[in-house]
């Protein structure tokens, strides 16, 4: 089972519901992925969840692969909120 570190931005004025997105992601992948707090554990992938495209969340020093959500974008490519979950799952599958 691989581990993914998760970091949220401060969510001051979010365009997307990153909490819901994360819970749905965790729920869908619970058999194969362990999601851990970004500061606590070692992990293979870092998922940074920003509520909007200002992308304020400071990127922790991390040598592995990151997935950056910033509002309705995944790694800076536009994706509507409804499709984000699926696209993150696809990306994780590719990186595994």
């Amino acid at each position: 089972m691989i581990k993914i570190g998760v970091k949220f931005c401060g969510n001051c004025n979010p365009d997307i519901d990153t909490k819901k997105l994360f819970l749905n992601l965790r729920n869908g992948l619970k058999e194969s992925i362990e999601f851990v707090y970004w500061e606590q554990d070692a992990y293979e992938i870092l998922l940074v969840l920003n509520g909007c495209n200002v992308a304020c969340a400071e990127h922790p020093i991390f040598m592995g692969t990151s997935i950056i959500i910033a509002g309705e974008t995944l790694d800076y490519v536009s994706i509507i909120e409804e499709d984000l979950l699926l696209e993150i799952e696809r990306k994780i599958e590719k990186l595994k």
Partner: protein, 482 residues
């Protein structure tokens, strides 16, 4: 990087066809109608060589690693976005006018990121073409006119629905060498003294508008292109000195109507050709990048207007009155509010898929919406303090006349500490900077107010606000207002 003089010399090599009141303007350089705008654009070149200003006016190309003029740059981080605003304020303070070069700068940035997205989705090679073009622009330090606004005819109809099909620029032919386009672009800032133009569609488009979804670059003197120079309030005063107000730099950007009569564009200069589904996002990117500017350049222009107001109050002998001081404070407050918004939308900018940085769209639209109001208020206060003589002053010729000049100097005198000529000159600066053509630019340049309000509604995240209120009101989240 070119100097201002080298830029001016380079214009002499072009065969740009410009008309005013039926006559062809020849030569362009040195002509009183055009020279103030050329002077203003030249400042964007000179500042790149001035140690005092180069930190803002230059940067490093992300393509070549070479030092380039910032007006040819693609924003690589938030600092670039902030420095753009600061540069625009600086140049506007020094010119009190429009120096035109931001439009092409914004067009390059908008087309850069959009072509990247297009290639990712469609497998086209537009971005590579744009990068090659950008290298050419940076290498030659070119001035590019940003050509978005079409004449648009019936505003209730789309491009393909117009009675006259040429009311939006369109592709009339494609062949193995390139495309041929026809139509016109209206209100073209700095076009007549640019080297090239970057054509973009005016708005979002549908399948039927395919032929109108065109972005491309062409020299301003390409065969088939003519420019009809626009009138400005008081433009005949460009043949005078004092009566112009801002003699060296004029007002606004020397706009024109650019007619494209079957103009050939080679494929390597075509950046969109029928991909109508990307027209909307290109327009939105350009609009946000351009609206970002207005709290920079208009703040700089307002700094001059505020200074002119304080000076004329002093010449009038009214500077110590408390209402005058209070009004000057209001002008400063409004100006800095505009600036705050531009800095904020830059600081809150983000990265796009292409790696380029882009201002925050919501805040960028707030900037421009404020400009459509605050500049009018700033200018209203200025005219209030200046007094009615800014509208009734006799001419410069009479001022200098042997018989009449004495009366003008006697009866238009203010506080005895200052010569009447200072009061006269300041009044002319105010008259020209706060009325007519200069004001309209704040209303419609970078889009009319309603265009920003549409964006505010779209990016204002209203549903989030509803959820916040419902939560505090004790309404369960299963019953949200849609």
């Amino acid at each position: 990087m070119k100097t201002g003089q080298e830029y001016i010399e380079s214009l002499k090599d072009l065969k740009t066809e410009v008309y005013f009141e039926t006559a062809k303007i020849e030569p362009l350089v040195g002509h009183p109608l055009l020279q103030p705008h050329i002077n203003a654009a030249a400042v964007t070149y000179d500042f790149a060589h001035d140690p005092l200003y180069e930190d803002l006016a230059t940067t490093t190309s992300h393509l070549t690693g070479k030092k380039i003029n910032r007006f040819t740059h693609i924003h690589q981080n938030k600092d670039d976005l902030v420095k753009k605003v600061k540069l625009l304020r600086l140049i506007a303070q020094q010119t009190g006018s429009c120096f035109q070069r931001c439009v092409g700068f914004d067009a390059l940035n908008a087309v850069y990121s959009t072509t990247f997205d297009m290639d990712q989705k469609l497998g086209t090679d537009y971005h590579k073409r744009l990068v090659d073009y950008l290298l050419y622009v940076q290498e030659n330090d070119l001035m590019i006119a940003g050509a978005m606004t079409d004449p648009k005819g019936d505003r209730g109809l789309g491009p393909s629905e117009q009675a006259d099909p040429d009311l939006f620029v369109r592709i009339v032919e494609k062949n193995d060498k390139g495309i041929i386009i026809r139509g016109a672009k209206a209100h073209m800032t700095g076009m007549v003294n640019s080297h090239e133009m970057l054509i973009m569609p005016t708005g979002a488009m549908k399948d039927a508008d395919k032929d109108y979804a065109v972005a491309c670059a062409i020299p301003v003197d390409a065969p088939g292109i003519i420019h009809i120079f626009g009138r400005q309030t008081n433009d005949k005063r460009k043949f005078d000195e004092m009566d112009q107000g801002n003699t060296k730099y004029g007002i606004v950007g020397g706009e024109c109507l650019t007619v494209l009569e079957d103009v050939f564009v080679p494929w390597n200069r075509v950046f969109m050709c029928g991909e109508y589904e990307f027209a909307g996002s290109l327009v939105e990117r350009f609009a946000t990048l351009h609206r970002q500017n207005y709290g920079g350049c208009k703040a700089g222009v307002s700094d001059v207007v505020t200074g002119a107001t304080a000076a004329i109050a002093e010449y009038n002998g009214a500077a110590k009155a408390s209402h005058i001081k209070d009004k000057l404070v209001e002008m400063i407050h409004l100006t800095e509010t505009l600036y705050c918004c531009s800095i904020a939308c830059s600081q809150e900018g983000g990265k796009l898929a292409s790696g380029a940085y882009y201002p925050n769209a919501l805040l960028g639209n707030v900037v421009k919406q404020n400009v459509t109001r605050y500049i009018y208020e700033i200018d209203r206060i200025c005219q209030d303090i200046a007094g009615g003589f800014i509208a009734t002053l006799p001419s410069e010729k009479d001022f200098n006349d042997e018989k009449l000049g004495g009366y003008i100097k006697k009866y238009f005198a203010g506080k005895a500490d200052y010569p009447t000529e200072h009061r006269y000159r300041m009044a002319r600066l105010i008259e020209n900077m706060t009325g007519g053509t200069a004001l309209v630019e704040s209303m419609h340049g970078a889009g009319s107010p309603q265009a920003q309000r549409i964006m505010l509604l779209r990016s204002g995240n209203l549903l989030h606000k509803v959820k916040l209120a419902q939560k505090l009101a004790g309404i369960t989240t299963d019953n949200l207002v849609k």
